[in-house]
Each structure stands twice: as structure tokens, then as C-alpha cells.
């Protein structure tokens, strides 16, 4: 099963939930940290680095001896990443999405591609969990290609848990695409509710079954629970607001280590999601 842990709002506990669930499983599991702008799971699942790999995206390079300055490339590029004024084009690689269009439309075959580095992949082994994360280079704007590279490390022979970035735009879509189930983590506050609504709309839009985990229950109000009732969205787990959990978390300690009763709770959470995906293999959760 491929499970993504996501949320509209940041800081609701995605990494806490995904790291604890992966560790609680006991059997071999893969955790793929897709929050490549701010990867954090390795701070909780410390382990030996098994492998590192540089990731790049293809960007154009121009052979000036072949270019006649026709600007077919510049006219084609939707991102203003290449432009020619009657001679060899000027490149703006940070704007380039790596679509390959300029190379394909060049009538003189003057454009080839070379990889421009955007970040690295690192794989760790921490007890039963194989963790792979991407680390986007500072100053690089485009996260989705690195997220696709992280997901490319999915082996398929073990349960895979994907820790998604916050928000509802392209990096989240790149993470959620192709997963069996999305667990949306929220908190019972007005910001939590508002961003949960956005995450629900997004998850429905891309047609992935989902359920909710409410973290820090006891702060705020009960509008998140009422919203889930009305919308027929299952609440799969609630974690209370607890200073002990917050302090253990601040030190980088896993809940399943600090508070052993959570091991069974996270195991039960994973099992309930497995059952939900089995009951309804292609459908939506509602």
C-alpha cells in the first residue's frame, strides 16, 4: 500500500504521524519524505546514510556554430527561459521546467540538453524503516522534479508512507499522484479547519480516497469534527494536545519511544487504512 500523509496547513504533525507510523510497523517499511523544501523525517528517524544521489533537470545548451538566431526556441518556450535576438540565445536556466521543447523545435539541431542540479536524494536505514528524502538546493524554485525523483525510489515490496509538503499546489499534487490513500492531518482550530477544507477539495479533485487525523485535540473548538461528520469523512485517529508530546517532539524524540502506548495506536491506524483501501480499491472514501 502507498499512503500519503498530507495537510493544507503546515505544522499540524504530518512528519510526526508518518515517522511514528513507519516505526510502529515493526516490519520493513519505506518512508519517502517528499517535503523537499524542508525535509524533517530524518531528524526523528536517525540512521546511517546508505546512499546519496544528485538530481538534476535537463536544461538546454546551445552550440553557437549551428545556431542561426531564428528564435524558434524563444518563440516556443512558455517560461521565457530561452530567448534569441538574432544570434545565439540567452538562457535563464532557473526559469526552465525541462520540457525539452526548445531542443525539439530547433530547425538546425543546435540545442542539446545537460542536467542542471536541483538537489540531492539521501537514503537512510533506521531500524525497520528505509527513509529516502530529497533536499532541494537553496535558491532553486522548482520542487516537483525532485519529488518525482524521491518517489522513483519506491521499491514496491514494502509498505510505503509518503510525507507530503504543506499546501495544495504543485508539490502536493506531485506527491499525491498515484497513492492509494491520503491521510489528512489537521488541528481543531479555525486555520486548521479552513486549510482542511482546501485539502479535501484538492484530494477530491484528484480522486484519491482519504481520511482525517486530528492532532492537538483539546485546543480550539469542535468545528473540524463537525465538518468531517457533515461531509462523511472518517476521522481515523485523534491525538490530544499534550505538553509531554510537544516537549519530546522538540527534542527529536519519536512518540512511540517516549509514550509506548502510541505504538499500538499507530499500528491500528495503519491497519484501519489498509482495510479501507481493500474494501474500496478504486473508489473514493465518500
Amino acid at each position: 500500500m502507498i499512503l500519503a500523509v498530507a495537510s493544507g496547513k503546515g505544522g499540524t504533525g504530518k512528519t510526526t504521524v508518518s515517522a511514528n507510523m513507519a516505526r510502529a510497523l515493526d516490519v520493513d517499511a519505506q518512508l519517502l519524505d517528499c517535503d523537499v523544501e524542508e525535509p524533517n523525517a530524518h531528524l526523528f528517524l536517525r540512521g546511517e546514510v546508505l546512499d546519496t544521489e544528485v538530481v538534476g533537470i535537463p536544461t538546454p545548451q546551445v552550440d553557437p556554430s549551428l545556431c542561426d538566431g531564428c528564435n524558434a526556441c524563444g518563440a516556443f518556450c512558455e517560461y521565457s527561459a530561452i530567448v534569441s535576438f538574432g544570434k545565439a540565445p540567452i538562457l535563464f536556466p532557473e526559469m526552465c521546467h525541462g520540457c525539452g521543447g526548445c531542443m525539439k523545435v530547433c530547425p538546425r539541431g543546435a540545442i542539446t540538453e545537460k542536467d542542471r542540479r536541483i538537489g540531492v536524494l539521501e537514503t537512510f536505514q533506521s531500524h525497520n524503516v528505509m527513509l529516502t528524502h530529497g533536499r532541494l538546493d537553496v535558491g532553486v524554485a522548482m520542487a516537483p522534479p525532485l519529488i518525482r525523483a524521491v518517489k522513483g525510489k519506491m521499491r514496491g515490496d514494502a509498505a510505503a508512507i509518503l510525507d507530503a509538503p504543506p499546501g495544495t499546489s504543485c508539490p502536493v499534487i506531485a506527491t499525491l499522484r498515484g497513492v492509494d490513500y491520503a491521510l489528512l492531518v489537521t488541528e481543531p482550530t479555525p486555520f486548521g479547519l479552513h486549510d482542511l477544507r482546501l485539502a479535501v477539495a484538492m484530494t477530491r479533485e484528484i480522486n484519491i480516497p482519504f481520511g482525517v487525523l486530528v492532532n492537538r485535540v483539546g485546543v480550539g473548538d469542535d468545528r473540524v469534527q463537525r465538518f468531517c461528520d457533515q461531509e462523511n469523512i472518517p476521522i481515523l485517529m485523534e491525538i490530544p494536545d499534550d505538553r509531554g508530546i510537544a516537549e519530546a517532539h522538540s527534542r527529536g524524540q519519536l512518540m512511540v519511544d517516549a509514550l509506548p502506548e502510541y505504538k499500538e495506536r499507530f499500528q491500528a491506524l495503519f491497519e484501519s487504512i489498509e482495510n479501507l483501501t481493500r474494501e474500496n480499491p478504486d473508489g473514493k472514501s465518500e
Binding site: E38, N40, C99, G100, K104, T189, H194, D221, R243, E247
Partner: protein, 294 residues
Amino acid sequence: MKELVVISGKGGTGKTSVTAAFAALADRPVIADCDVDAADLHLVLSPRVRERHDFYSGHEAVVRREECVKCGACLAHCRFDAVKMDGARAGEATFSIDPALCEGCGVCVRFCPVNAIDFPERLCGEWMVSDTDYGPMAHACLNAAAENSGKLVATVRREAKNLAEADNHPLVLVDGPPGIGCPVIASITGASLVLAVTEPTVSGEHDLERVLALTKHFKIPAAVCVNKWDINEAMTEAIEAKARDANAIPAGRIRYDVGVTTAQVMGQPVVVFPESVAAQDMQTLWKRIQTMLS
């Protein structure tokens, strides 16, 4: 006119609560919510919308089914896994484009042998100009599963600056997005000052380092504030030392206070409740930030 951008690296550290407090404390600010993915500032500033504008950005590829000859050229050319093939064999399959994955590059449009792919402009959301009790506000709403949030961020910032210039406002106050990627870069380039709000956790520390590397990369002065600092005092001190090493100024600490959530539930900036200890800390923080801005 000065521009202060509140960011965090890690999400959920209290950017929006701090920005809302500053909005209530500042003299005639223009407010901009640049967290267009998950905009929350309106929940505590209750803007009255004056203008709404559709936001179009780029194009999206759409296959005209009845003209498609099922050759699969689009699938072969697309580098973003956006072409979906239903049906097992070429010649029988139907092809369509997943709008959530299409990056609008136009390669499939150009290389479709029968020109069966349209390339309309893409509606990605809307942006608004509003009034609040504290000043005018520019904000936006990105459509579910839309992309190009960086361009929408740039639009919101531009509109906020226009509002400030039109009416001589001394400050644009920006609530930024989490992370260090495209929407964050679009939020901070050229700003007068960045305030990074973090929390005393291993994640908060790690993410602050990356966000300060980003402000350094773009040569923007940075201040740091540790929210809920009393959860872990040793970590707070370590974070402030790291901030100094990165040439950022530790500008204040905010105590953990459930009053922040209570104010949020009531739809108000926390400084409206002067008995809140977090509100008192934010007032002290705001005084330091004002000095740094002037």
C-alpha cells in the same frame, strides 16, 4: 515605503498569528497574504472585499477526443507524466491530459500530428483587494490542485505595493508561505526585512537554517523570533546562536499561550487581548522590528 515579510521555513510556527498582531499594532499598514496555497490571514482580519479579479497563468493542454487519432505522440513527448492513456494497446487507447500535472509547456500541442490538442489560458484562482479594520489588504485564493502559486504571490505583492503607493502607506506587511521554494522566493525578493518565525524543535531549527540560507542567497536582512520558546529553552538558545552565525538578528521570544488559539477561534488578532502573555511578547517584538525597519 518599507516591506516586511514574515516567513518560517517550517509551517505552523505562528507566522499568521504574528502577522495579524503586527497588522493591529502598525501605523497604517497595507497587508498582503502571500500564502496563497493555504491563506488564513482573512480568518482573523475579516476583510471586506472591494474588488475580485480572476487570475490566469500560463496555458493547459486539452485533447479534443473526437479528433484524436490515438497515435500516442503526446504521451511520448510529455516529461511531466501528465498524459493519461486509457486502454491497453496503441490504436485503441484514448489519451487525455491530467490538468493537475500539466505544466503548460506546449510540447504535446506542437507535436500532435493532427493538431487535436487545444491550449487555452489556465484559470488558476482569484486575487482580491479588501478593507480591514487595520488597513487595506491584498489577498488571493488558489484553485484546488492549481499551480503557478509563485506568479499569484507576485501579483498579490504588486497589488499591495500599488495600494501603499497610491495612498502613502509607510509599510507593506506580508504573510509569507512556508518552505524555501518558488512561492517563498516570489514573496521575499527585494523586501526591506524578513522576519523568520520558528519554534524550539529539531524541525524548527533545521528549517530555520535553510530559510536563513535563502535570505542570505537573495541578500535580504533577516530577523528571527522563537515562538513557544518556553517549550524548550536550551533549543531556543541554540537557535538564536545559529541565527547570529547566519547574520540574522534574534528579535524576540514569544511564550507558549493558549490565548493565541482562543483569539483565533474568536477571529481576532491576539493583541486585541492585552492580558495574553503572547500578545505582550508580540508587542515587544514589534517595537524591535520597527527599529530595524527605520
